[in-house]
């Protein structure tokens, strides 16, 4: 079975503080992992994907196969980072479905 776990439903940090949103996955194949973000009153959109190894809006995420984790990090949080964040796994071995975690609501306090 494929599963994505985001243990924190709510996370608050002060502006300028580091932030880490946790994501753990369970998948029997080779995973493709993504972070999606939903800002207030906007649609869900891609933030970053592990295969690109990119930094988007200051966020990075490293796939750790040993710990089966894909945590999202940013060294200095900004107010505009306040949003709902979803970790997603693409089950490429079994048909390209995307499975999403339950999401973490990030609030950056001014």
């Amino acid at each position: 079975a494929q599963r994505v776990t985001q243990p924190e439903k709510l996370l608050s940090v002060f502006k300028g503080a580091p932030v880490e949103l946790k994501c753990n996955y369970s998948y029997s194949g080779s995973p493709e992992l993504f972070w999606y973000v939903q800002y207030s009153r906007q649609r869900l959109q891609l933030l970053l994907r592990h295969i690109s190894r990119e930094s988007i809006k200051g966020f990075t995420a490293d796939l750790n196969k040993g710990e089966t984790s894909f945590h999202l990090k940013k060294p200095f949080a900004q107010e505009e980072d306040s949003a709902m964040y979803y970790c997603a796994l693409k089950a490429a071995n079994t048909g390209n479905q995307f499975y999403f975690g339950t999401g973490t609501s990030l609030t950056v306090i001014p």
């Binding site: 993504f34 869900l44 959109q45 999403f100 999401g103």
Partner: protein, 115 residues
């Protein structure tokens, strides 16, 4: 269109009624996904189309749910004999290549309320 379009944006219906939700994907996108999002939960996979055919419908909760994509573009999610537990936001997403990086482009969702 410029993005994935879903209609209606809001639908209120009574228990037992039939409902159709429509998704118009980004032009040229061959893959189309339906998700259901209940309050406080992440998007729950329902069904995925590659072209006209359902490549995976394992997420449909029961036989009251059905989806079609007859011409490989617009898709309709159909729910028969609606129940209060069907109340949720139904999200549609499309993707240009299932074998590639696979970014999903989402619509704004159709909020279904079953009274």
């Amino acid at each position: 269109g410029a993005g994935v379009s879903q209609t209606p944006s809001n639908k209120v219906t009574e228990k037992g009624k039939y409902v159709e939700l429509r998704c118009d994907p980004i032009s040229g996108h061959t893959a189309l996904y339906w998700y259901r999002q209940s309050l406080g939960q992440g998007p729950e996979f329902l069904i995925y189309f590659q072209g006209t055919g359902a490549a995976d419908d394992s997420g449909l909760p029961n036989d009251r749910f059905f989806a079609v994509r007859p011409e490989g573009s617009v898709s309709t999610l159909k729910i028969q004999r609606t129940e209060r537990g069907d109340s949720a936001v139904y999200l549609c997403a499309s993707s240009s290549r299932t074998g590639g990086t696979g970014e999903l482009f989402f619509g704004e969702g159709s909020r279904l309320t079953v009274l």
